[in-house]
Symmetry: C2
Subunit: 412 residues, 2 copies
Amino acid sequence: MLTEMGKKAKAAAIVLYNASSETKDLALTYAAEALMANQETILTANAEDVENGKASGLTNALIDRLTLTEERIKGIADGMLAVRDLPDPVGAVLDEFTHRNGMKIVKKAVPLGVIGVIFEARPNVSADSAALCLKSGNASILRGGKEAIKSNIAIVSLIRDAIEKAGLPRDCVQLIEDTTRQSSIDLMHLDGYIDLLIPRGGQGLIQAVKRESSVPVIETGAGTCHIYVAPSADLDMAANVIFNAKTSRPSVCNAVECILINSACAEEALPKIADKLRTKNVEMRGDSRTLKILPDAVPASDSDWGKEYDDYIIAIKVVDSLDEAIDHIRTYSTFHSESIITEDPEEAACFMNAIDCAAVYWNVSTRFTDGGEFGMGAEIGISTQKLHARGPLGLKQLCSEKYYIYGNGQVR
Amino acid sequence: MLTEMGKKAKAAAIVLYNASSETKDLALTYAAEALMANQETILTANAEDVENGKASGLTNALIDRLTLTEERIKGIADGMLAVRDLPDPVGAVLDEFTHRNGMKIVKKAVPLGVIGVIFEARPNVSADSAALCLKSGNASILRGGKEAIKSNIAIVSLIRDAIEKAGLPRDCVQLIEDTTRQSSIDLMHLDGYIDLLIPRGGQGLIQAVKRESSVPVIETGAGTCHIYVAPSADLDMAANVIFNAKTSRPSVCNAVECILINSACAEEALPKIADKLRTKNVEMRGDSRTLKILPDAVPASDSDWGKEYDDYIIAIKVVDSLDEAIDHIRTYSTFHSESIITEDPEEAACFMNAIDCAAVYWNVSTRFTDGGEFGMGAEIGISTQKLHARGPLGLKQLCSEKYYIYGNGQVR
């Protein structure tokens, strides 16, 4: 059933593959303008989604994610313009080599082709994904959650009109309007049409996509991040970094979930850390040695290690050495972001080399693993896998590469 | 059953991840020396394989691929030294960025971890793969075909001794000695232990690995390459390039399989091309328009388009336009290497931008898609997929990346 959509996407991708930066940017300008000029239409559609959501008993948190306002629509439009203003990744020369026989070999960035995006209740993700894919020269097929379907239809319809107005095929962006589970599964099996499928959402979604898909997938977002406090750590810095990494936005993947404290500084460090965490009512779940120092901590069970709370909860464990900290992290990490707080450069280097994850930090909060913070401007997720790209997936990571060889009759 | 091997590989990979270039290079030096010093042992083992192969009715071509000589062993040892002498890809700074808050973000190349390699009858592939993986800091698990098992055991055993002598864990390289089909399937499902699985061999092997594996795979090698001869082409150059691309080594993936000739120059071009191909008795399979010009050509059937002959056979089709050539290639290409022969730069650019494959050539033989020819020194295969890496897979492509963030207490 999605085959028709796949064919249309592929045809659009061929045009988009060689579209000029100017044309793509124009489409994004028109799209942002259309969103701003049609706020009423979007808000009306969104009100239906919100009403249906309330009727079906969505939590307040989900209703909040789902709800659009004039300000939020402006945010979405501004986001599209921000993507427009980033450098075009397509055509960038990645490598050059002149063969001794005189032919020139140039490796250039090229679009991947067709990108599928599966996401949940937030309607801004449709505009955001469409913009990132378009700017990187990729056609996109979007499959959002049923909660936001009316909003997504309104937004994507405006974007498609804008793309057409700029002279590109409107099928550069398509939305799957069928929000049954089957449409999602069909997308995961659209072999031959989808060059990359990106799940944007919670762990359940990501794991389901990874397990089920026969098209190439980039695994994103699982983040059980640790911070290890070494004996030589500046303890005020440690408390400050941990407080920030836990409480500045607990629901995101780069928030810290577990802290490991060296026993040599635990008695002094833990009360400082706990004092700050208590100001935000963070539930502390400690091992037996932590409980001796922090009587108000809850005993941690085995299931607390490696747990992604996404909430005001933190696991705490006292360890006796850097090696023990590394072993713990190797066992329970999701290989997203890990940090060490230490004044000892050698120890920092040892930790950073030993932990094989997307981002390793020395004396910094884990909260910085993010496309914007890493200078990429925008991102479509954080890759926690090792192939293709690791860490924030910006425009460059939505590209493949291609060798162009120029000669005058060379043979081998 | 392979889990034990997986665990050993993972433990070895942790050591190898941070091994110095000097240590890895020493291991490769010792390995090359050991192969040269133990030629007798290898030749004796190989003689057994050859005898078994003849008894089981292997073709002469396969027996030739399987057979080692003193000269071939020297070639294998020299290959290991050539890999040793390439720059170490690990630790290379791929990108750097200083955040406005003062923290420094450095993206570095890191090993992937554990690489599985499945290959067929050529015993040199075991040494070759082991060397490329070791140099790029990756532990390897090798699974070669049963035809070469005695030779592989002899070679890998010497390499493991050499690795240990250099101070690294001998499990940096492991060989699966069980050559039943099951061991191959087990390797394809060694989830959690294998970071990348690379099939090296024919289409059947590659497709089987791609279909069956639950671990990450890079698809390599399928090559149905085309050459399009445009109206403005230098016809002597066209004939020369086609002759080279077909006959210099017909069994490899970058050999040409099909030529497309514009009708405007077909009458003049085809006899020139055919004259050269006839000197090597290349069988020409043409469409009806080709047959009118080349009476000795065989009529092509539908199954000839898109066919990878790997032999002295070539398909020929007359087309009326660049667009028709592009359409044909888009339909039948395996997206490996495609070439255009033309004196018109605009037409060349149009062809090269329109065809989305690993390598596009202008006035050059397709035979150059190769790690050595592209300046990489060595390769483990040619990727025909779009994610991670495209084209020859050299040492850099056997690496992942990792962000190192250095700060002094930054929070977000």
